[in-house]
Amino acid sequence: MDQGEVLLKLEGISKYYGSFKANDQISLEILPGEIHALLGENGAGKSTLVKMLYGSLQPDEGRIIWEGQEVHVPNPAAARDLGVGMVFQHFSLFDALTVAENVALALPPGKSLKQVAKELEEISTSYGLPLKANARIHDLSVGERQRVEIVRCLLQHPKLIIMDEPTSVLTPQEAEDLFKVLRRLSDEGKAILYISHKLAEVQALCQEATILRHGKVVGECVPGDETPISLAKMMVGSDIHEISPRDVAVAHGDVMLQVKSLSLSGLSGFDTALKDISFMLHAGEISGIAGIAGNGQNELFDAVSGERVSEEECILIKGEPVGNMGIQKRRKLGAMFISEERLGHAAVPEFALSENVILTRHGLDKSLNKGPFVSRRAAKKVKDDIVAKFDVRKGSSDPTAQSLSGGNLQKFVLGREVMGDAEIIVVNQPTWGVDAGSAAHIRQWLVDLAAKGAAVLVISQDLDELFEVADAIATLNEGRLSPFVPTRSTDRHKIGLQMTSGTLEQA
C-alpha cells in the first residue's frame, strides 16, 4: 500500500456557508517533497480549503488524513504541531517589533530571544534568505517581510508549507529568488501547497496541480504538460475575453491632469513620503504606474484625488490648480477616482448600493439632491442604470455593498464613477481581488474610455495588466516616480528592475 507515502490526503471535504457551498467534496493528495499547485480564480474556494487545513475553519464534511492517520485540526496551533506551516498573503507581522521578536512570538515559549535570533540567522543564511535578526519590520521591504514569514515558518520544522499567493507582492526578480528557495525545500522532502492564479509560475514551479472552480475540483494535471490557455480554460470554465486594442495611432489630446513637483511627507511613520513627483496625463491616453505595494501608490492616489490636500500649484486638472481643493470639487471638474479598497473606502460596506451611489455622486448628479433632501428614488434609478450597463450581478434588487463579490462590486464602483462625464479617470489597483472574467471586462472598459477621449491613470501592482492596457509605464519606488516610458519600448524585466533598484534609466 502506498498509503504510508502520502503526506496529506483530503477526502470529500465540504464547507457550507448557509446554502452556499464554498467547498464541495474536495479531494486531493500531496506527497512529501511535492510542490502542488492549488489553482483557481478569486472566490473559487482556495482560501476556504487552506483555512481548514490550517485549522482556522472546520470542515462540515470529509476527512483530513495526515501521514495515514485521520486528524481533526481544531486551530492553527494544532496545525503547527502536526507540521503544517503557512505563509500568508497578507503578512501577519508586528511593524514595530524586530525580526527576532516577531519570530519568537510564533514559537512555543521557552527559548530566549538570543537563541531564537541565532537559529533564525542560521536558517536564513543556509537557505539564501538573508535577514538581520534585530532589524525592525517597518524598515524592511515587502520581499524581506516575506522572508521573515518564511523563516518563521521554517523554524517550526514543517513537513508541509502552504503559500498563499506569495508572488503577488514581489518583483519578477524577487519571485525567481523565491522559486529557488521553494525548489530547495522540495528537494529536502518538504511538501509545498502553492496557491496561485498565475499560470506561468505554476507551470515553472509545480509538479502537480489541482484546479478549483466554484468550490469544486474541476481538474488535476501536471502543469508542465499543459498550455497556459488550457489551464486558464479549466480555471475560468470558458475562454477569457481578450482585450481589443484601441487605434494607437490616435494622437493624444490636451493635458488633462498634471502633477508638478509634488512632495508630501508621510502622515505616520508607516506611510511612504512622496518625493518630487511630476507627470502629465493627456486626453485619450492610458498611463500606468507600476510598483510594489507600499511604495507610495496610496499616498499618490490620495494626493491626486484630493483626499489629502497639497500645495495649490502641485496638481492641475485641465490647467486649473486644484492642489488645495477637496475631492468633490475635483470631481466637479470631471475627474473620477477609483480607490484600491472597495469596502470601507470606495463604498460603505453596510449601505445599500443605491446609498453608495449617493456617496460620490452627490452634488454632481442633480437628480440626487432636492434642496437639503436626498432623493432615494433617483439614487435607485442611477443604481439600476449602472447595474444594467456594467453587468453587475447581485442577489436582491438593492443589496448592501458587502454582499457583492469583489468583481461585481468593482464593476459597480467603476460604473458609478464613469456614468457621468468622466474626462479623467484615476484608478488604483483596478482588478485587485477581482475574478478573471470581471477583470477582463474592467480593463476593456478602461481601454474604451480612453478611446473615447478620457485620460486614464492606472496604478497597479499587476505588470501583466499594465502591459495589456497602458500606453506608457512609469514605476513608483520609495515615493519617487520614474519617467514614463512607452510600453512598446520597454519590457517586464526592465520595469521589474526599476521597481526595486530606484536607479532610473535615463533615456
Binding site: H72, P74, S305, G326, H345, L359, T360
Partner: protein, 348 residues
C-alpha cells in the same frame, strides 16, 4: 434583529430585577408591579411620566446624531445644566421684563447655552485631538459646580429664607400645562416629541443625515465622498448640545418653575441609555425615553411602597443598558469554546 435586541434586553433586565428584589426580601412579582405598573395606573402619575420623559427624549434624540457619527458625547448632563442656567437669565436677573415673548426667548437662550457648552469638547477634539469622552464628562462636573455656586450665591432668591434656589418664575416665564385638570404635565413633552421627529427627518431624509451615517459607518469612505469630519464633530456636538440645553430650560421653566442646585437627577446620563435602547433612532428614542422615565418614576414609588433605596432606579437603568448591549453583541457573534489538542480519530 436590531429591534428584537432591546426587547430581549428589557426582559432580561426585568428578570434580573425580580431576582434582586427577592434577595432584598421583597416578593419579586409584587415588587415589579409596584415598580412598573402602579406608577402609570393613575392619570396624575402618567402626567409625571411625561414630565420625566421630555428631557430624556430630547437629549436621547440629540445623542443619536452624536453616536451615529462616532462622536462620543457623554456630557449631555452638563449641557442640560448650562441650557437651564442660560435660559434662566431673563426671569432671574430681569424679572421686570414681562410679556409673551419671554418664554420663547428663554427657550432660545437655553438652546444657545447648551450649544455653547457642547462646543467646548468639539473645539478641543478638533483643535487638540483630545478625547471627547473625557472632556465632555469632566465638563459635567464643572457645570454642576457652577450651577451650585450661582444658585447659592449671586442668583439666590433674596426673599427665599436662604434656601439655595432662585426666585419663582412668573407665569409668563413658565411652560403652560397641557391638561391642568388631570395633572402637571406641560408642553415640554410636545416639544420633545416634535424635536425628535424633526431629528428623525434630518437623519432619514436629508443629505446631512446621510453624511452623519457615512462618517459613523466608514470614516475613510466619508473622506472619499468629500465629507468634512471636523465639521461633523461640531454639527453633532452642537445639535446634541442644543437638545440638551432645550431639555434644561424645559425642566426649569416647566416642572420646577425656578432654578435649583440640582436641575436633573441624572437625565443627561440616562439619555445615553435612551439613545442606545432606541437603536440610535430618534423615533426609537421617544419610546425608550418613556421606558426610562418609568424607571425614575418607579424608583420614587418603590421608595414609598416597598421601602427600598432610590438607588434601585439606577440599578435598573444600568441593567437595561448592560443587557441591551450584551444582546447586541451576542446576536451578532457566537461564543465558541475551543480546544487546543489534536484529537486523533484512529488510523484511516
Amino acid at each position: 434583529m436590531t429591534y428584537l435586541s432591546p426587547i430581549i434586553g428589557l426582559a432580561l433586565a426585568l428578570i434580573a430585577g425580580a431576582i434582586m428584589f427577592s434577595f432584598l426580601g421583597k416578593p419579586p412579582l409584587g415588587a415589579l408591579y409596584a415598580y412598573f405598573i402602579e406608577p402609570v395606573s393613575e392619570m396624575w402619575s402618567v402626567h409625571e411620566l411625561l414630565i420625566k420623559a421630555a428631557p430624556l427624549i430630547l437629549m436621547g434624540a440629540g445623542l443619536c446624531v452624536c453616536y451615529q457619527s462616532n462622536n462620543w458625547n457623554i456630557g449631555a448632563e452638563g449641557q442640560m445644566i448650562m441650557g437651564g442656567m442660560a435660559g434662566s437669565i431673563l426671569p432671574v436677573l430681569f424679572p421686570q421684563i414681562a410679556g409673551p415673548f419671554v418664554l420663547p426667548a428663554m427657550l432660545i437662550m437655553g438652546v444657545i447655552g447648551g450649544m455653547a457648552y457642547a462646543g467646548i469638547p468639539a473645539l478641543l477634539k478638533t483643535k487638540f485631538k483630545t478625547n471627547e469622552i473625557l472632556t465632555s464628562l469632566m465638563l459635567v462636573y464643572i457645570a454642576q459646580l457652577i450651577l451650585d455656586w450661582t444658585v447659592r450665591g449671586p442668583w439666590r432668591n433674596p426673599h427665599g429664607l436662604n434656601f439655595p434656589e432662585t426666585r419663582q418664575f412668573d407665569a409668563f416665564a413658565r411652560l403652560p400645562e397641557m391638561i391642568p385638570a388631570d395633572g402637571r404635565a406641560n408642553f415640554g413633552f410636545v416639544i420633545a416629541v416634535v424635536v425628535a421627529l424633526l431629528i428623525w427627518v434630518l437623519m432619514a431624509k436629508t443629505m446631512k443625515g446621510f453624511q452623519v451615517k457615512v462618517i459613523g459607518a466608514s470614516p475613510r469612505a466619508a473622506k472619499f465622498a468629500g465629507f468634512d469630519a471636523k465639521n461633523m464633530v461640531f454639527f453633532a456636538f452642537l445639535l446634541a448640545g442644543a437638545t440638551a440645553g432645550l431639555a434644561g430650560i424645559v425642566e426649569v421653566a416647566g416642572a420646577s418653575g425656578q432654578l435649583r442646585t440640582t436641575i436633573s437627577p441624572g437625565y443627561g446620563f440616562t439619555a445615553i441609555i435612551v439613545a442606545f435602547l432606541g437603536r440610535l433612532n430618534p423615533i426609537g428614542a421617544i419610546v425608550a425615553g418613556l421606558v426610562l422615565a418609568l424607571t425614575f418614576l418607579g424608583g420614587e414609588a418603590a421608595q414609598i411602597s416597598l421601602g427600598v433605596s432610590d438607588k434601585v432606579a439606577r440599578v435598573f437603568q444600568g441593567l437595561i443598558l448592560f443587557f441591551v448591549l450584551a444582546c447586541d453583541t451576542l446576536i451578532l457573534y457566537r461564543i465558541r469554546f475551543v480546544a487546543s489538542k489534536i484529537i486523533p480519530k484512529g488510523a484511516a
